[in-house]
């Protein structure tokens, strides 16, 4: 695996805290302070109210595998040596979905509904891309 050669994220004013937290080994999501519901990807307002009433919270880092795919087609030069690679759609305990890779496991062992937890093994350019593997 070569997380160092992964495509760089597009960092903006809303997701910058997420990537800063990931460097410190923390998974954070936004929580709507009016409804108590969490949302991701990061946004200027809560999608539940349209208002800028939210706070960052640290997520438990746990979730379940909602679905997954395995890429055979190459779309990114920096990921050629990872082909075929899995992408999982994880439903976090806090509610939002996150797209991520399956870590410490083979896609052959992936089962929808299985419990997963987050890891922070690295990423490109000093960044860290959260990965999910069997619950620890």
């Amino acid at each position: 695996m070569s997380l160092e050669t992964r495509p760089l994220p597009v960092i903006d004013n809303w997701n910058r805290p997420f990537f800063e937290a990931a460097k410190q080994g923390r998974l954070i999501v936004q929580k709507c302070t009016d409804t108590g519901q969490c949302f991701f990807p990061p946004a200027p307002v809560s999608p539940f109210t349209g208002r800028p009433h939210w706070e960052w919270i640290q997520a438990s880092g746990k979730g379940e595998l909602w679905s997954f795919v395995v890429f055979y087609q190459s779309y990114f030069d920096g990921m050629k040596d990872e082909l075929p690679y899995p992408v999982g759609m994880v439903k976090l305990e806090e509610g939002p979905f996150m797209l991520t890779n399956l870590w410490d496991m083979s896609p052959d062992d992936a089962v929808i509904g299985m419990k997963l937890s987050v890891r922070f093994p690295g990423g490109p350019d000093g960044l860290v891309l959260p990965q999910f593997g069997p619950e620890e």
Partner: protein, 368 residues
């Protein structure tokens, strides 16, 4: 707006790889065919909707059209139906009398890639419309017990139709269920024969009021009803509901058209990837949710064997990737008996369905 607006002219180019021209050249070719089809001249056109061709100004300049209503719509395929509805509104309100809608695509010759580039999920390697549909299909298999083999009858029915259509890119190249099963994986669980084509071509429609259409060359095909429901909740990740609630909401198309399902002879379903056909059939209530695999298994979508001949040109999978524009053109042709070997006998009404975050359905019928 039931039956107030009509398709008066249809034009489609050849489909393939044409590096000697571009989307403007192809668009002009399609529009000229459509103008000849209905007997109008560019100077008769007072409404213009252009899609996937980069500039509406340049296109209008090239064709010598100076309309009173003009716009460019997004390149996503869901905008074929949206464009049709915009034209219908413009005609119904009197903003224009004859609207030309022109779609041109030279994705093949410019080696267009659907995937890669920067996006929310690119650092995790998640990219491409195909992967989004693969994610949805894996979940569908889990929730309902469907299998990859359930997609086979979709791919083979449309290829069968392409083999009846001399203009289809895949004409003369039949496939079997085994070919579908063994095609190479692109983004599992989807394989090559679950993916649409990428080719150059263009489509043009001339729409006008039902009244005006009566005076033109060809028998008018009426837009009887149109329904749409958007859901942008999961815009940055695959939807978790197969667009089922929003597709279900578009069942209002039957009431709007005053035409029930039993009075429809064939379907045009937006097939960027084979699973969207099954999502469409479930969402519009042709079968129960989760049962679309059983529903299509015995050739239900195939001409000659099934009750619901679908994408009789071959669709995006096997005719041409004209992003809904060609599928709607095929519905019009069916209703004019223009389809030769692939004609649906006694076609009186056709239904178009598009399963995307802008879920849509339309019913077209022959004018009495």
């Amino acid at each position: 707006m039931r039956d107030k607006v009509a398709f008066a002219g249809i034009g489609t180019t050849r489909y393939g790889s044409f590096p000697e021209t571009d989307s403007y050249g192809l668009g002009c070719e399609a529009l000229n065919i459509a103008l000849d089809d209905c007997g109008l001249k560019p100077s008769d056109i007072d409404g213009l909707i252009v899609s996937r061709i980069p500039s509406y100004e340049r296109f209008a300049e090239i064709m010598g059209i100076n309309p009173q209503y003009c716009l460019l719509t997004e390149t996503a395929g869901r905008f074929s139906g949206v464009s049709m509805a915009l034209a219908a509104n413009a005609l119904y309100s009197g903003a224009a009398k004859y609207v030309a809608l022109v779609y041109g695509n030279n994705g093949r010759s410019v080696r267009m890639r659907y995937g890669g580039g920067d996006s929310q999920w690119s650092p995790w390697g998640m990219t491409s419309p195909g992967a989004i549909h693969a994610m949805m299909w894996r979940r569908h298999m889990h929730e309902f017990g469907t299998t990859h083999a359930d997609l086979g009858p979709v791919a083979t029915a449309f290829r069968h139709h392409a083999c009846l259509n001399p203009d289809a890119v895949m004409h003369g190249r039949p496939i079997s269920l085994l070919d579908h099963d063994r095609s190479r994986p692109i983004c599992e669980p989807l394989q090559l024969l679950d993916y649409c084509l990428i080719n150059d071509g263009a489509v043009a429609w001339i729409m006008t009021t039902a009244e005006r259409a009566k005076d033109l060359k060809r028998p008018p095909v009426l837009l009887s009803g149109y329904a749409r429901q958007d859901n942008f909740t999961y815009r940055t990740s695959p939807p978790d509901d197969f667009w089922y609630p929003s597709l279900s909401a578009t069942r209002s198309v039957y009431d709007r058209a005053g035409i029930g399902r039993d009075d429809i002879q064939g379907l045009g379903i937006y097939d960027n990837f084979s699973p969207t056909v099954l999502f469409s059939l479930e969402g519009l209530g042709f079968c129960k949710q989760g049962e679309s695999g059983d529903f299509v298994r015995d050739g239900t979508l195939q001409l000659g064997t099934g009750r619901w001949p679908t994408n009789t040109s071959g669709g995006h999978l096997s005719d041409s990737y004209m992003q809904g524009w060609g599928i709607i053109a095929e519905c019009v042709r069916q209703l004019r008996d223009d389809c030769g070997d692939r004609q649906i006998p006694n076609a009186q009404a056709m239904q178009y369905i598009c399963a995307t975050n802008i879920a849509q359905s339309a019913i077209l019928r022959r004018a009495a």
